[in-house]
Symmetry: C2
Subunit: 284 residues, 2 copies
């Protein structure tokens, strides 16, 4: 579609989960409240919505400061041709929502990641209760809205939207619990001078392969900010590495390093360059 047509309708942002999830919250901090938000049940569907033109941007979680990488998002980048256009850091505070007091709760609903992020609190307080995993914190809040003996681990936005009281606040094990989200789009962002780049590197299962792919970053003094490995899903024990570093893919020293990397790795793909966002919150 033409740029003129694009101006005639509001920006459409696809996000993972239903209204009230942390991804919805993160998307609103980036794009504000006056645009069209499209909830999607699956991370894969967010990518599809953008690549098929049904949305201009997609917002997906990529890693949590306590629980680590979101595997389904990492795996989608190995399949999709979409680029990373922005990163968003959003603080994650979990609360226990229920229409009953704590001692009347019989079952707890949440997504696997919040269960993991509140593991210590749950063991100390509600370790005997049945934990049921559902697709999102918002879906958990919906269950707690329907069943007075159920509780949900969810955020404040979900408590408001589904009208379930908060009976225990801030139950996350790490008080500075933060999730990083990526905004995916047809194209990456332009250089700002304070950028980060994410690449996917395929490595063969052979001696020395891992160190060889890291050498170009060292020789060009590129600061790696993150490395995450995932199985390639094509062959057993063959890995993809997701590497984030400081700089933009159009910077001269980055271009040279990526070219060298290409000769050592099986495959290298730039997933995107985007302005470096502040890691929130700071607790120093």
């Amino acid at each position: 579609m033409s740029a003129t047509m694009a101006l005639q309708r509001p920006t459409r942002v696809a996000f993972f989960g239903q209204a009230g999830t942390f991804t919805h919250f993160a998307a609103r901090t980036k794009f504000g409240s006056s645009i069209e938000y499209l909830p999607h049940r699956d991370i894969r569907d967010v990518f599809l919505a953008v690549s098929r033109g049904r949305a201009d941007f997609g917002v997906v979680p990529i890693e949590n400061s306590t629980e680590g990488g979101v595997n389904q998002t990492l795996d989608m980048f190995a399949e999709s041709r979409l680029k990373i256009a922005s990163e968003i850091y959003a603080p994650i505070h979990h609360h226990l929502l229920s229409k009953s007091p704590l001692d009347k709760v019989r079952v707890i609903y949440s997504h696997p990641q919040p269960f993991a992020q509140c593991r210590n609190w749950l063991m100390g307080n509600l370790g005997h209760l049945d934990q049921r995993e559902v697709g999102s914190t918002a879906a958990a809040a919906e269950m707690a809205a329907k069943d007075p003996h159920a509780a949900a681990i969810a955020g404040r936005l979900a408590a408001e939207i589904y009208k379930v009281p908060i009976i225990a606040e801030h139950i996350e094990d790490s008080p500075d619990n933060t999730t990083r989200f990526f905004v995916v789009a047809e194209r990456m962002s332009d250089r700002t001078g304070k950028d980060k780049t994410s690449v996917l590197i395929s490595v063969k299962d052979e001696p020395g392969a891992l160190l060889r792919i890291l050498m170009p970053f060292q020789s060009h003094r590129i600061n790696l900010t993150r490395i995450e490995s995932r199985p390639s899903r094509r062959r057993a024990w063959e890995y993809h590495f997701f590497v984030d570093f400081e700089g933009h893919a159009t910077d001269e020293h980055i271009r040279v390093a990526l070219h060298e990397l290409d000769t050592h790795a099986k495959h290298v793909e730039v997933l995107g360059s985007y302005p470096a966002a502040e890691k929130l919150p700071t607790r120093k």
Copy 2:
């Protein structure tokens, strides 16, 4: 207890999950059928059983060739003082178990990892059905034994133990799907000459930290076989790295490298040295 007392009773092996899980299957390939097996509901409980002397060994999954690392096991190594005594590779074949034919199935039970490992098959065949996550493949098989409209994704051992027919075989996305397990014990294994070692390295969130910890491995020509990062769970964006490499912690060049590493990293801990096992299956 004394070695004499230990000889007077059979070896006790704690494993994650209930009878019929893949971990039970892996434990049996290692320890045979004439010892005492102790099922444990939680990966944490397996570590506790061994550290409190209620079991001689513990068997836990550490990574799957399709789905990647098992976060709860990785995180337990950051807490526990137990050592890795062996590694086990076991092929994972998933089947759909139900007392109903495929078109009468209304709900599917399994553990999150099998759901992820059969993602493509499920989307193509049963994408419309409700997926309910339970604690293990064996628990899923038990549900399918009780409810004729339920199906379970589980292994052959679970189908046998819980007496539920297999209605679709080999539904895993990767036919060479394999899981690696660790045997944990009070002490690591002695040197055999063909060993692997696992270390946990804590790294500060600062420029260049990641490359600095990898340098000693390169300068001593130590072959890294795996690197996996996990949040430290102590401070946001601070990571532990789990690094596996060839050699035994008592080998001279490994000792020197670990000493150098210690000066660059925040903290280094040898999780164990153990005989290198064959990666199964081979599909070349």
